[in-house]
């Protein structure tokens, strides 16, 4: 009985804060709404029995990516607090296309048959995920660590001031 209630509450929070992210004029408030949205999505993951992904979401998105965004905003916006124009002239056609996209996606999804399994969801997922990351997925796992290293070095090289 409480599951639909919790789902609709979380879905409302996700959609409302996502709308705030794309419409609010102050970029700093956008970042705060983004953090709120990411937290609500972590709640959605918990509802889907993916507790490890929820923890990774909070650690990596809220803890790293969103804080990085806030740092970048503080480094770049001279105009924070000023009433700058935040949207371009494509608002109406963009909104129209987005509504068409929602309609098309929901229509095609509701006309597709997915074979729903009656199996119980896996328990103790962090253990199972750790085991398969170290056995079946060890090559992608190592590749991702190389990509992270490359991104880190690339970010340092790109953002470094030239000349010193």
């Amino acid at each position: 009985m409480t599951e639909p209630l919790v789902f609709y509450l979380l879905a409302f929070l996700v959609i409302a804060s996502a709308l705030a992210v794309v419409t609010v004029r102050n970029i700093f408030h956008c970042a705060l709404f983004l953090i709120f949205c990411l937290f609500s999505i972590a709640g959605i993951y918990v509802m889907l029995f993916a507790e490890f992904v929820a923890v990774v979401q909070v650690l990596l998105y809220v803890g790293a990516v969103a804080i990085l965004m806030i740092f970048a905003i503080m480094l770049t916006s001279r105009l924070a607090g000023h009433d700058v124009q935040m949207s371009n002239e494509q608002v109406f056609i963009g909104g129209f296309l987005s509504l068409i996209m929602v309609y098309g996606l929901v229509w095609s999804l509701s006309n597709t048959f997915f074979r729903i399994s009656d199996e119980a969801p896996a328990v103790n997922t962090p253990l199972a995920i750790g085991k398969s990351l170290m056995t079946d997925f060890v090559l992608p796992f190592e590749l991702v660590s190389v990509i992270l290293l490359a991104a880190m070095i690339g970010a340092i090289v790109i953002a470094r001031r030239e000349g010193n």
Binding site: E3, F7, V14, I15, A18, V21, V22, I27, C30, A31, L34, L38, I41, L48, F49, A50, F52, V53, V56, Q57, Y61, V65, L68, M69, A72, L75, Q85, M86, S87, N88, Q90, G94, L97, S98, M101, V102, L105, V106, L109, F114, I116, S117, E119, A120, P121, A122, T125, I129, V144, I147, L148, A150, A151, M152, G154, A155, I156, I158, A159, R161
Partner: protein
């Protein structure tokens, strides 16, 4: 809850992110909208994992890889934004049209 609810939520979230990408002028706001789209994809992956193949964890592992790659993307994107800011004294993407014809 049915699978359809989660898929609809992901579709709405993806479209909101798309709206942000095409309408925002600030490059950092565009990156934030991209993160919304990544999260919509992750909700799809985990919902399918929960309802279609609950026994194995392929969807969750794939979602973790998506999150990690998104973090790498955000790092490189934001450093490019900072570099653009140094050159143009602003990150309004409508003014950065050097590579448009």
């Amino acid at each position: 809850m049915q699978l359809m609810h989660y898929l609809s939520l992901a579709a709405i979230l993806f479209s909101i992110g798309f709206f942000g990408v095409v309408t925002r002028r600030n490059a950092i706001a565009i990156l934030m909208s991209l993160e919304l789209m990544f999260n919509a994809v992750n909700i799809n992956l985990i919902a399918f994992n929960r309802y279609v193949t609950p026994g194995d964890l392929l969807g969750q592992i794939f979602a973790i890889f998506v999150i990690v790659i998104a973090a790498a993307e955000a790092v490189v994107g934001l450093s490019i934004v900072i570099l653009i800011y140094r050159h143009w004294r602003g990150i309004d993407v409508d003014r950065i049209n050097l590579m448009k014809w």
